[in-house]
Symmetry: C2
Subunit: 440 residues, 2 copies
Amino acid sequence: MAATSPDLMSTIVSLCKRRGFIFQSSEIYGGLNSCWDYGPLGVELKRNVKEAWWRAMVTNRRDIVGIDASILMHPKVWEASGHRAGFSDPLVDCKQCKMRFRADHLDNIEKCPSCGGALTEIRKFNLMFKTFMGPVEDDSATVFMRPETAQGIFVNFLNVQQASRLKPPFGIAQIGKSFRNEITPGNFTYRTREFEQMEMEFFVPPADDRYWYDFWKETRRSWYIEYGIRPENLRLREHAPQELAHYAKGCADIEYLFPFGWSELEGIANRTDFDLKRHSEASGKSLAYFDNDSNRHYFPFVIEPAAGADRAALAFLTDAYDVDKEDNQRVILRLHPALAPIKVAVLPLVKKDGMPEKAENIYRDLLDHSITSFYDQTSAIGRRYARQDEAGTPFCVTVDTQTLQDDTVTIRDRDSREQYRVAATQIVGAITEKLSGKRQ
Amino acid sequence: MAATSPDLMSTIVSLCKRRGFIFQSSEIYGGLNSCWDYGPLGVELKRNVKEAWWRAMVTNRRDIVGIDASILMHPKVWEASGHRAGFSDPLVDCKQCKMRFRADHLDNIEKCPSCGGALTEIRKFNLMFKTFMGPVEDDSATVFMRPETAQGIFVNFLNVQQASRLKPPFGIAQIGKSFRNEITPGNFTYRTREFEQMEMEFFVPPADDRYWYDFWKETRRSWYIEYGIRPENLRLREHAPQELAHYAKGCADIEYLFPFGWSELEGIANRTDFDLKRHSEASGKSLAYFDNDSNRHYFPFVIEPAAGADRAALAFLTDAYDVDKEDNQRVILRLHPALAPIKVAVLPLVKKDGMPEKAENIYRDLLDHSITSFYDQTSAIGRRYARQDEAGTPFCVTVDTQTLQDDTVTIRDRDSREQYRVAATQIVGAITEKLSGKRQ
């Protein structure tokens, strides 16, 4: 167990607010417990994390397609999945010392085991948020905000398979919000009641489940490293048999060494054929796959890599955090260029002599080539470099006096601090090459 | 008023299911009223619509930044915004004929004005979905699922302005889910209880509000045309004074001629300084902007272009729908290439003679250049072209016998039906040029 770093965590929370990565939700009203808003830099970081996942899991794979199911689903979905029954705890509170207990963990539900005070009535506590659809607030109108995106994939299994004409092994991927009424949220954006998932259900012939379970464990672990997480801060933890959900044949967590300790980033589970069978029974509509080759129906097994987009973003941010000890403890976010909110900052050295116009043209040209850029002509150049280092921008392009003479600019590399000149006409090519080079 | 086309609507709904654009949510359980799931083609279309909006509204503009606020916000936000009080109707039902009435519209709340039957008690009906945060289901734990993304922008106004160092005129943009407990949802994905918004709040000096109101009306109208909506199917409808919300100084709808008639795609409103002032009063934290030049605080006016991502996707899909009357009524989706789920389909003419391997290489090369592609080697080539036309794919690349001799391939254009040969080494360049050419 590594030592935790509460100081590092609060430094990152403070950086996130100051630079506009993450704000407390409804902050002017005192905040809403465990809800967070992504600011201008944070929204771009998270968009890039999701895009990198989608590219690796959907766009670049012939065997996986995406969907986007609604957050509100039919209540029977959660009965079949087991969330109605299994996601619910009975709670009691001590009226005297205010401690809270699970009623099913107490021998005596009259008196507080801590102080002997009287306990409240048992209150049901299901981790699903419930709401009412339609004008009447009663049981018949109760619907739930999904606690996981996975069920949206299972109930659409045959529709997707038939429309896409895919055969196992194939996968269905989804990115979207889920909601869990956690009793103990915390650790910044790590454990929140509203969160965004990146889940993929990979449907395989039952005999091939071990191969694909191992394949996805390694493939997903590599993804985090490809995008910049240091391997020593990542580990794969196989669950012990007693940790497994009753329907799971295997499960492993990809854990990251957060400042608050090793914590799960993503789980890879062998869910067997549990979900497809349960929904077939509950709905009366078989979700079995018909295999032309063997001329029979069967229920595929499911290997599920389920990641958290907020957790991934927080891990990439934390791992990228660095301080230049030789230069006033300046912060440098060494984000992978594909994840960096801004790829290139274009900076005229001074606000005169035609430098802003030249810089503006370069900025527009970068945008025209789909390179997300930022234009800044305020304050001293050193201060502007420092601001870009702190925002994680991998490259700065500076227009200076020499530019006006020979049409060359300086490109500054965030990590090496190297500066070198290239012809203004070559900037897009040079940056494109650097971005794709860093991506390897 | 144009004639409506119920047949066209049901044809589109049917196409959406068959090809995997849109499925009914929880279909195997009989569906959930007004909720829809995007399938493999639909999720890509909607992603492209949102990406086109983000690019136009955030990435390509120096004066606008993005945020991503949480769906669950502090309940005081909705008191200050007026949604707690103003978004609520009292309803009664007739126990006999089951008709429903707004109680405040009845002279007599005892007897049904239609059949004379007895009425139920008055039930409160607020369009906001409510839920309970924390383990206790009572009023103190009640929170709401946001009915609009705009308020997440207003409460973050000063945090964003300060972190981004922006001065009015500047904007804050957001894409995200909102929820309204509509009494009468309908028209496929047009009016749903769960929907995705693309909203931007543009903060301007009060004296400049008219200029920016006109600017955004025209800019947003042009956006739909740029991405393929025929101008004759689009109109701008200025609201009459009596239609305006009490705080609004002006409002205009961009309407599209859907098969069910002219309907709103997007609203552009001059919300004045209402929201920033209301949240300042309610929170006790001033959201006034400090202007260095005049050395005084003021509340900017807000011009808001608020679009629906689902409505935009449905409009683009509807407008792209075409039928080839001379060829078996084949469906062709003439989607703008930037919105098309697949940009290029790579098709080996036959499944032998090395054609699949060659096609696979071309497919991988396109993916490496971030061109979303699809590989298909099943069935006759004509049938595969037809399937791609129906999916809206603008280009097909075919590997045939001649490819094996001179390393050229056929590129087929969806709209012109032209086919011409290019060297295999030139495919990426040719497609890139076509995609950017069509984008102009």
